[in-house]
Amino acid sequence: MTRTRRRRLLLVTCLLVGLSGACALMLTAFKQDMLYFHEPSAIAAGNVPINTRFRVGGLVATGSVERPGNGLSVHFAISDCHATVPVRYRGTLPDLFREGQGVIAYGKLDGRGAFVADRILAKHDSTYMSPDTARALNAGTSDACMPANMQASR
């Protein structure tokens, strides 16, 4: 084997090792940090495992927002067309969080059917709804339950 060839082989080997390292890194990170989106109905049907982090989206149920105690805790419920999930959260809510508006919550289910959120996202614009939330509300189908102002703007 000539000098040049050996060097080239070395280079290619290094490249392969490096690239597979990068791939392994990506795959493990992917596995750990991928978040699924579930609808309130799927949670009510018991199709969602507890103690794994995921996202849930829908409308903030009207009349459900309350602040127990005088601290920063908030209790509310997220609903789609068929089911409602109680949510517990502690911290600052986004500006566009309001009853009857679409939200997405990040967190886990506890053992008693409540969703413990660590992050709440509301839309950035009052006329815009995330596609995930829109689908949770069956937008565009016969049993859609979108709020009126959303339907007008889409």
Binding site: F30, M34, L35, N70, T92, L93, D95
Partner: protein
Amino acid sequence: MIPELGRLALILALAMALIQSLWPIYGIAANRPAYRQVAGPAALGQCFMLALAFAALAWSFYVNDFSVTYVADNSNTNLPWFYRLGAVWGAHEGSLLLWMVELALWSVAVVCASRTLPRDVAASVLAVMGLVSAGFLLFTLATSNPFARQFPAPGQGRDLNPLLQDPGLVFHPPMLYMGYVGFCVAFAFAITALIHGRVDTAWTRWARPWTLAAWVFLTLGITLGSWWAYHELGWGGWWFWDPVENASFMPWLVGTALIHSLAVTEKRGIFQSWTVLLAITAFALSLLGTFLVRSGVLVSVHAFATDPSRGIYILAFFAVVVGGSLLLYAVRAPKFTAGAEPVSPLSREGLLLLNNLFLVVAAAAVLIGTLYPILADGLGLGRLSVGPPYFNKVFVPLTLPLVVLIGVGAAMAWKRTRAEVLISRLWGPAIIAIVAGVGLLGLTVGVHALGAVAGCVLGLWAIVTALEELWRRTRGSRWMLSRQIIGMALAHIGVGIFVIGVSLVSGYGGERDARMAPDETVQYAGHVFVFRGVDAVPGPNYQARRATFDIYDADRRIATIHPAKRRYDQSGQQMTESGIDAGLFGDLYVSLGERLDGSAWSVRIYNRPFVRWIWAGGFFAALGGLLALSDKRYWRRRGKRASPAVASLGPQPARDKARA
């Protein structure tokens, strides 16, 4: 009347773009030199027409012409005039127009600089840019007419999205787009190289300044965007790995790789095919970014279009441009003769090869994280999202080695460097970086956050090695250092500053939620925050509730800040304005949550040490690029190499042949 003129100008611009591209292509194919001359004037004409269209839209905003749907949707008579003008690019149609105006400006810049280029190169570069422009003009005219009218005209507009009502709107999008679009010039040069089957030192010397210019704009645009998000969104973060941020970041990564590989191609005549491929990729990623933002497949602050026909058009356009150029690449690239000598790992080009690998793999990791959720949704694998943890876990290990390489590269010479030389140049900076990093942190905030300390040392390493290189080079020769060298060092110092900022913010920063009633205090990050209460303050198009916080360091008041909540009159939307006490060594940042019972508010307090260094790093890097760009070796006239007598007396075809 004015909007109709604007639309007419757009149609004429399309005609000009077609002339700019088809005539020169025919001229080159049929060897009719006269036809190539059309490209320059056509580019000027196209730019003029687009400027007219842009002015027409800006005028419609200025005079509140709500019969134009786009104006009615994004403006309001109570909006201050500078936001009304910024609102021109505040949504889909207008930002597309901005995209095209800037592409035309780049074409005009190529025309102005074309005296440094052979005529057939200038003509084919302009032809490629004309094709891209024609594609976008067609898209605008067919699916996104900004001048569409509505009757009857509403009496009042719906107002600009409050998030955009900020000085950032005036600067960030134009800068970012200049960067995005600027890679089109590098792309056009790459296609030209493929058509002419030639990548030589002269070609790289033409392509380099354009790539660098685009990169400077993109760097500034991303930096400004990060700063804007930090102070406007009220969440205390500076980067979120939002898909649209990623869309601008991927071309930046590949563009950075391109700048470095162009340097190798110019100096050593190797990596030609790779450089051309990178140029194509950088622009392909810019187009992909445009597609992601405009097609509505993404959930994001920036994604405003949700019309499927638009998405399909852009996707088809993307496929044609990228597929076509990759096909051309596959056919022509094997013709480039690669340098026969192998690359030594202990040489500047060897390190730059590694740099390119890391940058491209990092870009690929970002691409996968951004696209996978869309693909998974399309393939029915479930609706999932990939969040910041993925990107941090993958991106940080892939880019930290790059910072190490910056330092080693500074000490490395082209072709081959002996290991002893390398060590003799590097041990000093290494010791300085470690001692200064650990020492400074140990004396001030403590060394408990190990990752942050390591990051700080790495950042100092990049800075010190860059300074060492400057010092060594000035000592070695009596010559003034070229601007290119100083620019490079400055850009690397910028990276160091950025790394220090990121490490310290993530290692020592923090936040705390609190419930505060007037005159209550909270202690956080070594300071005392006193809540003084909330006043009502009317704004031009909103009502604000403005809070007052005094910040004390021991007994001394160091700052008074006013975070606020604004309710915009027209949309009824609520917005948080953060209150920031900014400083070179850190920010104290308060954002107002919502009103709880009585007069108490929920409040979030952030400690953001060294956060300004993140943007300072970006500005330094851009400044370095600008300095390198002004290096006079890029701006020699083309007449220099051919004999002046031939250039002025010889007939046209002979002149061009002599230069080819």
